[in-house]
């Protein structure tokens, strides 16, 4: 509230609780979202300073689906925002897939000045954010969404390489893939390597060989000990709780990979959070 409003409004309005809007303030919703068909809906009530009228309102915001920011701004008259809720319709994102921040701003576009943040946190179709009431939470706090992804099936003689998308943070859980070797006599050993897009900082290597004309399955995860199964493949111990930033990669490195050796598509599990950029 500012002093002008206190000086001019009538006695009943002094009883109105809420966030004061001076007439040139706006509500801005910014979202980061990874799921298609998500619509963010803001609902609330606004008390007009001019006549004390209580206006229920509903605004619709469409997020991007590639984890990048999308913003919408809604003009408000002079008065008080008494309550506000944010929910999702159109899809059923899980916690970790749709992150919303609601600010009060003054001005337009990139030049707008954020005066205050009313809400910030993950929202789903069943879990709302509400002003007043909801705490301001950053996107990396709490559990993310558990995802199981099928990666790119590389062409023969190529390695697996999966990249953490822009705007995401992953915790590696496990990866499974099959390597089919051609008839060339050679001992292939392999490792799952984690790098920052340039330099590797961790790897999990097998301790046995794959020879010619074999189709072996490899599973990398927090199994404690690496061991192989004759003619089947192996379980390879990989670090638990390895957190990967955007641009980091999970990839295989296979020694003596032959022209006809072929990795299948990796299936891997990660915990994902949105990391606004």
């Amino acid at each position: 509230m500012n002093g002008d409003a206190l000086a001019t409004r009538s006695a009943p309005e002094l009883e109105v609780g809420g966030f004061y809007f001076a007439g040139d303030d706006q509500i801005r919703v910014t979202s980061w979202n990874a799921l298609a068909s998500v619509t963010v809906v803001l609902t609330g009530r606004f008390v007009h300073a001019e006549d004390g009228r209580i206006e229920p309102f509903s605004e619709v915001h469409t997020p991007n689906t590639n984890r990048t920011a999308a913003s919408s701004t809604y003009q408000r008259a002079r008065g008080w925002l008494t309550d506000l809720s944010v929910l999702v319709t159109g899809a059923t994102p899980q916690r970790g897939q749709t992150f919303v921040r609601v600010d009060v701003v003054r001005g337009q576009g990139a030049g707008a000045i954020a005066l205050s943040t009313l809400l910030q946190g993950y929202v789903t179709a069943t879990q709302r954010l509400a002003y007043p009431g909801s705490p301001i939470i950053d996107s990396l706090t709490g559990p993310g969404v558990i995802r199981s992804l099928t990666g790119t099936d590389p062409v023969a003689a190529s390695e697996i390489s999966e990249t953490v998308p822009t705007g995401a943070r992953w915790r590696f859980i496990s990866l499974r893939a099959q390597l089919v070797t051609d008839a060339t006599a050679a001992n292939r050993t392999l490792a799952l390597v984690f790098d920052d897009g340039t330099n590797s900082y961790m790897y999990a290597a097998t301790n046995f060989n794959q020879t010619a004309s074999q189709a072996l399955n490899y599973a990398f995860g927090d199994v404690g000990q690496t061991y192989g199964f004759y003619l089947l493949g192996g379980m390879v111990s990989a670090p638990a709780n390895l957190v990967l930033a955007a641009g980091h990669r999970i990839r295989t490195v296979t020694t003596t990979l032959q022209a006809g050796d072929n990795w299948g598509p990796p299936q891997y599990a990660v915990e994902e959070w949105l990391e606004p950029v």
Binding site: A34, L35, A36, N64, T65, N66, R67, T68, A69, A70, A91, Q97, R147, S148, L149, T150, G151, T152, D153, P154, V155, S158, E159, I160, S161, E162, T163, P165, T166, G167, D195, T198, A246, G247, R249, R251, V253, T255, T256, L257, Q258, A259, P265, V277
Partner: protein, 109 residues
């Protein structure tokens, strides 16, 4: 959802993952090995082209020519304000749209 093949690395992938999120393909790097040759010169060669008298110095990763990178670039947005992908590379070939045919499984829906 489509099944596509990257024209740069020839890798195949679905454009949407099973949980409904877009899959963002990035071409894998090309692996090379930096070696010191018997005559003292240095070279970066394919891992299977290391000669018997080469001394291996290090593994190197090289960015693939015209690599495709489908992760979004927040600094490069289209007219609707949606970030474009970082690099088109040579593009993709669509292998199948929407449906993966089920063959030889009469009881499958």
């Amino acid at each position: 959802m489509s099944r596509v093949r990257c024209k740069t690395c020839k890798g195949e992938y679905d454009t949407t993952t099973a949980d409904g999120l877009p899959y963002m393909h990035v071409c894998p790097p090309v692996r090379g090995v930096k070696v010191r040759r018997a005559d003292g010169s240095r070279a970066i060669v394919a891992p299977d082209a290391v000669l018997a008298d080469d001394q291996v110095i290090a593994e190197v990763l090289l960015t693939r020519k015209q690599a495709r990178d489908e992760t979004p670039d927040p600094t490069n947005r289209d007219e609707r304000g949606i970030p474009r992908i970082k690099a088109e590379g040579r593009g993709v070939t669509i292998l199948a749209d929407d449906v993966v045919p089920v063959v030889g499984l009469p009881d499958a829906s």
